[in-house]
């Protein structure tokens, strides 16, 4: 499901099946890091949309949670977690290309995927690169679904 009114209507009726929140964490870099962060965001949003389509009936893809270098990550994490825990999701998957979330244990179970610059690829290549990535993430998701 996407974060749209219509999809959320369906979500309300089918909460027992749609039990997972998928939240992309997007870094907004400043100065020299702007382009790099845009490229990562592009990759992450493409990937999230792909996952949403594969798992439409189980996952709600949230609008990206964005942060800048000035944000206190631990604070953000605890604020986010507090807000999400009010929602009836059984599983919350954070997806990010920024390794610091899981490395520093801020969100220990954030799913980290290395960013791949899609901007220089043609459609076909982009598609197959994303597919490869999704294929790697699927086992991570299903493992969590079955273990938790």
């Amino acid at each position: 499901m996407n974060w749209t009114a219509n999809d959320l209507d369906l979500y309300m009726q089918q909460q027992e099946y749609i039990d997972t929140a998928l939240i992309p964490l997007v870094h907004i870099g400043g100065g020299g890091a702007m382009k790099q962060s845009a490229s990562s965001a592009e990759f992450l949003m493409n990937l999230s949309a792909f996952i949403e389509r594969q798992f439409k009936g189980r996952v709600v893809l949230f609008p990206a949670f964005s942060y800048t270098d000035g944000n206190d990550k631990s604070r953000l994490a605890s604020e986010w977690e507090a807000s999400i825990s009010d929602m009836p999701f059984k599983h919350v998957f954070y997806l990010t290309t920024d390794p610091s979330w899981s490395r520093e244990g801020i969100i220990g179970d954030a799913i980290w995927i290395p960013s791949i610059p899609l901007e220089s690829m043609d459609k076909k290549l982009k598609q197959s690169v994303l597919e490869d990535q999704v294929r790697q993430i699927i086992p991570v998701l299903t493992a969590r679904w079955t273990s938790e």
Partner: protein, 167 residues
């Protein structure tokens, strides 16, 4: 001082113009939509989308065929990739929609090693027979949709989806 004040007449003029403008836009918007809609909708129903799948290479084993088309939603235009599961059945070509009839996840052929001859939905373990028939006792409530197909120069074209005609 007095010329910065809004006179009674000016005030009425402004207000009426405002209301009139609002009303006019209320009338115009549906008219514009009406005129623009058909343009926005081009590419939807009735059109066949070419794929790169050679029909002569199809077997009885379903294969994934991807296709892309432009979709306009509001002012958000995007290129959408669609998928079909395609196989040969006698001299007929069957193309099934991968969209699960439970809550819309994407199903895979032989996605579950315990059921190698069925479509499998990873979301809630829904299953379908090869012809799209949903397996009773799994969450899906109906069979997979079917695409209209067209063959030209050995290439597969996919049309609109329709309710399954095989089961």
């Amino acid at each position: 001082m007095s010329n910065t004040r809004v006179s009674r007449r000016q005030f009425l003029n402004y207000t009426l113009m405002g209301v009139g403008g609002f009303m006019a836009s209320g009338m115009l918007m549906p008219m514009i939509r009406f005129a623009v809609d058909p343009v926005l909708e081009a590419g939807a129903a009735g059109d066949y989308i070419p794929t790169s799948q050679k029909v002569s290479e199809l077997t009885e084993e379903p294969v994934r065929v991807d296709f892309t088309y432009d979709q306009v939603d509001g002012w958000y235009e995007s290129e959408v990739t669609g998928t079909a599961w395609v196989y040969r059945e006698g001299d007929k070509v069957v193309a099934l929609s991968p969209v699960c009839k439970h809550l819309g996840c994407t199903v895979n052929w032989a996605g579950d090693s315990e059921h190698p001859n069925q479509f499998f939905c990873p979301c809630h373990a829904g299953r379908y027979e090869k012809n799209g028939q949903n397996v009773p006792g799994t969450p899906p409530t109906g069979p997979l949709d079917e695409f209209d197909v067209k063959i030209e120069d050995d290439l597969l074209y996919l049309g609109a989806t329709k309710p399954n005609t095989l089961v």
